[in-house]
Symmetry: C2
Subunit: 342 residues, 2 copies
């Protein structure tokens, strides 16, 4: 494109190639019935003018934007950052781009993410709410493609992609039981199940595994925490030992907690995995690199991303919101050195 000239339009290309704008549009959209000569003239004109189609005009006309909204609690949480990365990858493979909204666990902003959909700025919304209440579900009504992530909202009028928090926690606990653990602590657990959250679901899985094995549930082994940081994981271990509790297995409800747990145990010269086996949750990048490397639940972010994006695209193709449904994502246990292989 000649510097200084205004941006070329379809019209300019048509004029230069001596064809109609429709032909140029057809060319751009790979219309098959076109003489090679015409095609070539258009190609040349586009090339000479450095023409690039204006997305906004195309969007207005076609009603599509090629954009998907992804609304997550917080990119500072590694899990969500890694999920966002996968979403971007998946979207790109389908020719889509992603607008990321970070709600900061703010109910208002979770609602706003949904409301923004009324303005047709993007083709669909993937929403991971943490604060939305049952009474807010009507905010999610609409005809636009929507996918809900996570445990928080049920009854939303849309497909719902769920990681198997409960089953995965049960499997992780079972893994410890099979390894011979008799006293298994849960770091980050809670018996409060008034709201569904990943911590309550994961705790349920733990409880279920104990029940399956006929083991008693000892509430003092369920250690509530504040933030999901390694410091909290370390502190939970210190507190537990100070109270005279000596677990031989520890299930940390996320990997950062688990890193704190391992580091505290090493500090106290408790051997991992010989004396205490440790399992985490999330399979963040770093889990491979801790010492010892961390056995953990891989909730298959790639799959969550794939299912989420594909659902949006199929809703789009179908011309509107899919009915409420539940899509479960399989998890995998990643066996590493913090627990004995099975």
């Amino acid at each position: 494109m000649a510097a200084g000239s205004r941006k070329a339009t379809l019209h300019d290309v048509a004029k230069r190639a001596q064809v109609s704008v429709a032909s140029v549009s057809n060319y751009l959209n790979d219309y098959p019935y076109m003489k090679a000569a015409t095609r070539e003239r258009i190609r040349k004109a586009i090339d000479e003018l450095g023409y690039v189609a204006n997305r906004q005009a195309r969007n207005l006309r076609s009603g599509r934007t090629g954009l998907i909204s992804l609304s997550l609690p917080d990119l500072n949480q590694i899990y969500f950052a890694e999920l966002a990365e996968e979403m971007i990858k998946q979207a790109r493979e389908h020719g889509y781009r992603v607008i990321i909204e970070s709600t900061g666990n703010d109910r208002r902003r979770e609602i706003d993410s949904a409301r923004a959909m009324a303005s047709n700025m993007t083709d669909g919304l993937i929403l991971s709410p943490t604060q939305l209440r049952a009474e807010d579900v009507h905010e999610l009504e609409g005809d636009y493609p929507l996918v809900i992530l996570g445990e928080r909202v049920f009854g939303a009028p849309a497909p719902h992609v769920l990681i198997a928090n409960e089953a995965a926690a049960q499997a992780a606990t079972e893994h410890l039981l099979k390894a011979g653990c008799r006293t298994i602590a849960v770091i980050g657990g809670t018996l409060d199940d008034t709201v569904a959250s990943s911590r309550s679901m994961r705790t349920k899985g733990y409880v279920a595994a104990l029940a399956d094995y006929g083991r008693p549930l000892r509430p003092e082994l369920i250690r509530e925490i504040g933030d999901w940081t390694s410091a909290e994981g370390a502190k939970a271990v210190r507190d537990m030992y100070a109270q005279g509790i000596r677990p031989d297995g520890i299930f940390a409800l996320n990997d950062l907690l688990a890193m704190g747990v391992i580091s505290q145990l090493r500090e106290m010269r408790v051997r991992v995995p010989e004396s205490v086996r440790v399992v985490g949750f999330d399979d963040i990048d770093e889990a491979k690199y801790t010492i010892p490397s961390l056995t953990t639940v891989d909730p298959d972010r790639a799959q969550v991303a794939r299912l989420g994006i594909e659902s949006i695209l199929s809703q789009l193709e179908a011309g509107g919101r899919a009915p409420r449904s539940r899509i479960d994502v399989a998890f995998r246990l990643r066996y590493r050195d913090s627990s004995p292989r099975v």
Copy 2:
């Protein structure tokens, strides 16, 4: 909005309020000269119809999208995830949203991020290249608002936001020198400065600090690594000790490396900070929570984000690309427990 009806347009509102579309448009854009009665009729009609303006139409007409492109290497790297979070926050404060592109350190995709700007899909681009070459700089030409992040490309025809890698590394090293360290290792450093990268810049700062203090540069203290993971940090320490090297200060070129360093030292029963002082770089969330908490360089992501977004917006206001310039971001040392306070 009545369920089932198609989305209301400006036209519908105008008809219902018995005014022209222009008046409704004026209303939406806070045009001041309007009779209260008219205003009220429009407000009511909008309310009754549940009207929300179509962004695409508005964009086409106004030439603005309210979107900024942010192109980063990889959200799995905590630094970039936290930077993205800040960018989203800053953008939101100005009424903008952010499309995040993850290039995966792929030169092709870094170039594509720039090329995509020709289609007017977003109002500006903030690009953090890691693979772009001098010969690619012409790809960055154009009239759209652009900001470059990082050391990789110089001579780009746009404002360039730089964190003070060299000065910050120098200050971190000085901090160790002042604390009495005589043998300071750099984990992740390199003396290869054929390409400017954060590791080469940071190593330069280290070298400069030693020179200032009249200390010899001992190449065996500069430990190259593979990935920026805690495992590599731990391994570097093990290797160093295996070679009989006994540093009393360690400067890890990012926090993940530092976490591995600390964990390995504790494993070896080397006391931090008493026997070895450790300093990191990045000030990721977790740095506050390691044990001991990590002294590190805070490169002020919030500032990088603020300056980046504000530059885009001021270019937008000015109607086009700002000339090449260099915007330096001040760093801060965060003194924590892995080194003695000063």
